[in-house]
Amino acid sequence: MPTVTYAGTQVTVNDEGFFTDPAQWREDMAPLIARQEGISELTERHWQVIKFMRHEYDTKGSGPTVRVLGKTSGVSVRELYQLFPHGPAKEAAKIAGIPKPRGCV
């Protein structure tokens, strides 16, 4: 497993850069992961999605798909793609330190 250092802490990630242990994640790591994804600044709207991802993972054991995010996070599908242009569920999961959501729709 590759390791990466964010904010002075070494974490393990998979080949795609997703955290393998979400417990290693801290909020101060998020802006650094986002920058690697090409998102230079995390706005309040980004954080709303990131916190929602963490919450979903903590309660359900997996991250939501874009459709679920659009219906329940309070951020529309259109805005989700503006905030996370490379795929909202995937990108937000990576920044939130949780595994990549699995779901076809």
Partner: protein
């Protein structure tokens, strides 16, 4: 690391429930992975973006061996409607959106929706007959220009 697909152009050519959904799922999935995606509706696939028809897309119950239903039974009046209703119900349980809702969502993801000019001419369909999310009615040549550099998927 293997090469990644950056862009897909998906052709929807059939007007049945089972003919429309796969293309929509692939387009939505492509956008979710961060790929560029365009949908091109041709022939009976146009029904999926037709204002008056997209809410009434039916499952094919005749000539569909995958349904494991005798052909004569599939042709009885109302069977297609009942089977469509059943399938829609099952998909709703899995939180798969209806075709109109799914197409609206796909447009919101930034995917482009286009209609085929030859088919539109054939059926006498104009832009006014199509849902607002459709960007344009284009020729096959324009489709290939748009698809250049990506993968083309025919469904």
């Amino acid at each position: 690391m293997s090469a990644k697909i950056e862009k897909v152009s998906i052709i929807v050519s059939k007007g049945s429930l089972e003919g429309v959904y796969p293309g929509l799922i692939m387009a939505n999935g492509a956008r979710a992975e961060g790929m560029e995606a365009n949908l091109f509706f041709t022939f009976f696939g146009l029904d999926a973006i037709h204002k008056a028809r997209h809410e009434h897309i039916k499952l094919a119950t005749v000539g569909n061996p995958g349904l494991h239903l005798a052909t004569w039974a599939g042709g009885l009046p109302g069977v297609s409607s009942v089977m469509t209703h059943y399938m829609n119900h099952k998909m709703e349980q899995l939180d798969i959106p209806s075709i109109p809702e799914f197409i609206e969502m796909i447009a919101d993801t930034g995917a482009g929706l286009y209609a085929c000019k030859a088919s539109a001419d054939l059926f006498g369909i104009t832009k006014a007959d199509l849902i607002d999310q459709v960007k344009d009615i284009i020729t096959v040549g324009e489709f290939y220009d748009m698809a250049a550099g990506g993968e083309i998927i025919f469904t």
